[in-house]
Amino acid sequence: MPDNHDFNTQDPELAQRLRRLPYPAPPADLADRIVQFATAQQQQKPPFRLGDAMTRFFAQLLAPLPAGMPQKSAFACVLVMIMAVGSLAPEIGTGQISSSQTAYSIEDDESYLVTALAYDDTLYELEGM
């Protein structure tokens, strides 16, 4: 058990005496009873939170971006990807995609060529230049 320095430095003597107070041991079968009782109940479904859903959505979109990319460029890339997905969506799954879609995002002196290629319906590749 870690020491609570906040408490011990305030009143070490009392903390030491409190630490010696005995506790009853749980009955041997308590864990079994708890698990049996609890798991007989129906679990609740998680409440839908728009903020969390949006966070997960953007986290998935940002995952393939190169680390260290400036925030504005990353945001621009996400916008481009959304546009790309939107324009490719009708063809996805039909096997008719043969060309890539490109866009540029310029941040200071850096530029990123974003190439969105559709592989297996879901995979997109980004190339930094």
């Binding site: 058990m1 107070l21 506790y23 609890a38 998680p46 969390d52």
Partner: protein, 203 residues
């Protein structure tokens, strides 16, 4: 495409579950994984039981522990590890359940002398030691609910003031205020008795 199914595995993977963090187990519990829940319960049962015993003042602590774990099972899908550690989340449920129960009924449990450890003292010294522990136990039992909870978390669980404040849903200053009042109350209760006891032993 391969499909990953999460089901209750046979006894073999139990060892793998023991190596999981609390948060990792909770991710499985949220999918209805009973074995992960069992592992989590056993991992924290001893301290949870002791905390429920102390915070509730010895009232229905077994029921409190069961109720708290049932809430964990039911609401596991809502647990968000990014917002709080499992222990903070769980002890918040446990302490609130214990305080609610203690408010419904006055603490009544007296110390069980069988619980006291054999500390190797002479019978006379052990009697004096046990008497002091019994008085301290009674004093803690009669503290106001939230003071008792603060003392228990900071002492028994060894939590920092920050974590205890998070568990109790208050800021650190408020928690420190509770601890100061609790310590003062305990000293007020104990000092006259122990001075009296010391005089009695000397005479």
């Amino acid at each position: 495409m391969s499909v990953i199914r999460i089901t209750d595995p046979p006894a073999g993977p139990t060892l793998m579950l023991h190596g999981q963090s609390d948060e990792g187990l909770m991710a499985l519990v949220a999918t209805g994984h009973k074995l992960a829940f069992d592992t989590l319960v056993r991992r924290h049962l001893q301290l949870a039981y002791g905390t429920a015993y102390r915070v509730s003042g010895g009232i229905d602590h077994e029921d409190i522990v069961q109720e708290a774990w049932t809430k964990v099972w039911l609401t596991a899908p809502s647990f968000q590890p990014a917002k709080a550690k499992f222990t903070t989340w769980f002890y918040r449920i446990l302490v609130n359940t214990a305080i609610d129960r203690a408010r419904q009924r006055k603490p009544s449990a007296t110390i069980d002398w069988d619980m006291l450890p054999d500390n190797g003292l002479s019978p006379e010294a052990a009697l004096s030691e046990n008497q002091q522990l019994g008085e301290l136990h009674d004093a803690v039992r009669h503290l106001p609910d939230r003071q008792r909870a603060a003392i228990t978390l900071c002492y028994e669980q060894g939590m920092s003031n920050k974590q205890a404040a998070d568990v109790m849903g208050m800021n650190i200053k408020a928690l420190e205020g509770l601890l100061v009042r609790a310590r003062r109350t305990l000293k007020d209760i104990l000092t006259p008795k122990q001075e009296g006891g010391a005089h009695a032993r000397q005479s």
